[in-house]
């Protein structure tokens, strides 16, 4: 059932039917009702390809997916996606993943912009001076950054959590508990979130006249194995930390394993705090010693990003508003006063 048939059977022009369906004002209310009615009754759905060709709008939001043999999408992505899907489902939005060579995403962004394949995109894992932001602005493709860049000339729309604040608070708590030597097991330091977290730790320590030594910081991809390695390194150094902050639950698994491997225990020998993005399949309260966390649902962020993208597409939102969400600090058994 297409527009032609529908309008023919209503004995109206395609113009009028199209307008009636799309809520234009210049159509008689009764006519509109008749049209709407018939459309519903016959299950008429405008062909998106045609509509797209005519309007340039696709009703889809895009994401450029970095791929490559060495690249592996991390599990945070899927949680974010759940949130995005939650919103998208209720709003007739589909999501297009465009795989790109991880070393050259720009080509792909240009392609989807030129083709108008999607109405908007979201950008994840931003880094300082992230080139994607200026690129998208230049391409006039609406976007939202999940996370933040830094050192850019222009403002841009984003939603981020207060990584610095979260790690600042967590560190401050540890210091108040008497910890002086604090270690940080961070994610890839080229990404802004990791930079912010480190900054939070530094600032908190500085506030108490302490400093974060370089050798007390390890930054790497957030795998269990890297968590283990980092923890081993920190725990086997002299003047080992009495407390560690860790950027992910998955790394914390490795940290936990390292702690027990070197014969120490949490929280007796080591206080541990990790950031929790809220996975359904791995929860901090279920660590052998319940894990204290800085918590923020990445799924909720996904839903919010979708919501704002939808708003930008429909013109309800513009400008470069940044949104920073506070992070919960949840204290559980993994932290204790420093015994030293």
């Amino acid at each position: 059932m297409n527009l032609k048939q529908l309008s023919h059977m209503l004995e109206l022009s395609q113009t009028t039917v199209s307008r009636a369906l799309n809520g234009y004002p210049e159509v008689n209310e009764e006519t509109r009702r008749r049209v709407m009615d018939a459309a519903k009754r016959h299950g008429y759905r405008p062909n998106p390809s045609a509509r797209r060709l005519a309007t340039g709008k696709s009703g889809m939001i895009g994401y450029v997916l970095p791929t490559g043999a060495a690249v592996s999408i991390d599990p945070h992505f899927v949680e974010f996606l759940s949130g995005l899907g939650d919103y998208a489902r209720g709003h007739d939005l589909d999501l297009v993943l465009s795989p790109a060579d991880a070393d050259d995403e720009e080509t792909t962004y240009r392609r989807i912009a030129a083709n108008r394949q999607v109405d908007a995109v979201y950008v994840s894992s931003p880094r300082p001076k992230d080139r994607r932001v200026a690129l998208l602005a230049a391409l006039a493709l609406p976007f939202i950054v999940h996370g933040r860049s830094e050192g850019l000339d222009a403002d841009y729309p984003f939603i981020d959590i207060d990584n610095e604040g979260a790690f600042h608070e967590a560190t401050r708590l540890l210091v108040q508990l008497g910890h002086r030597r604090i270690g940080l097991i961070n994610g890839d330091i080229r990404e802004t979130f990791a930079i912010h977290r480190e900054r939070g730790v530094r600032r908190a320590l500085a506030g108490s006249g302490l400093a974060l030594e370089d050798r007390a910081v390890v930054s790497s991809a957030m795998t269990e194995e890297n968590g283990y390695r980092a923890a081993r390194r920190l725990l086997e150094s002299d003047g080992r930390p009495t407390a560690i902050l860790c950027s992910s639950l998955i790394m914390a698994l490795g940290v936990q394993r390292a702690v027990s491997d070197v014969g120490l225990s949490v929280p007796g020998d080591l206080s541990l705090v990790a950031h929790d993005d809220v996975f359904t399949w791995l929860q901090p309260e279920n660590f052998s010693v319940p894990l204290s966390t800085t918590r923020s649902s990445i799924r909720a962020a996904g839903a919010r990003v979708a919501e704002r993208l939808a708003a930008r597409i429909s013109g309800l939102e513009d400008g470069a508003r940044g949104e920073v969400w506070p992070v919960d600090l949840v204290v559980r058994g993994s932290i204790a006063g420093a015994s030293v």
Copy 2:
């Protein structure tokens, strides 16, 4: 730059240019060269919306994403996606995720089929008598199932791993090591993969005159917590198993925690084998006792599914060929002879 402009500047008709570009035979080789050349030089890319309207082909593959407050995409999905992306990137395919109410995916399938939004779809987490298979066949939408259904009237194309064989082999090995009481901590038993795994265990036990008692089997969503609970239940029952097979690495984390919580150890008191889908962020060799696994890369499966979908789209593949991949059994420190 569109076709009209390009053909105008070449002083050729749109027809000829289009044909030259699409490799039709009835165009002079020199003309084709000229056209190709000019197209490249001016960076001409046919507008996909237009092409789509004209041909009905979209160059995208689809996936209906079940969503809902209670639903959470599991991390296996992301690994599969990596594989899909690996292939798709090199072949100009995009992936469309259409979020659907988890209780009513059918509507969404119908929509994307009616709209011809995608050229093919893949189906995951199939169950016995999965209705999606017949639905897609009826809708004439090319598809590949990742996994298998069962009890269907017609054949269908799929790729699956030999879940039954894998768990059969693993169980057989445990039996040979002297284990008599073997437990199974499985995924959602409504899904075929879980059924097959259970079947593999049963068959192996039966082969040695043993049986899998109902109370030795727990089936639930594959989270750490469920792994823990299941293991607690099994280990605290009388006649507790001396060996456990586990359907996922994530559950195995919970099993490991339970084992240590009840004061037992691996492999002394309990031999443990888990299925490993090969995540980069959690590896069986890094368990506190290196974990024996049945291993099959879900990422590789993703790439293969993409490849076969592409083949079906271009007509190189048809029919209902099923493909079953063998699974490695990798022995590490987590299994030992039964002491009883």
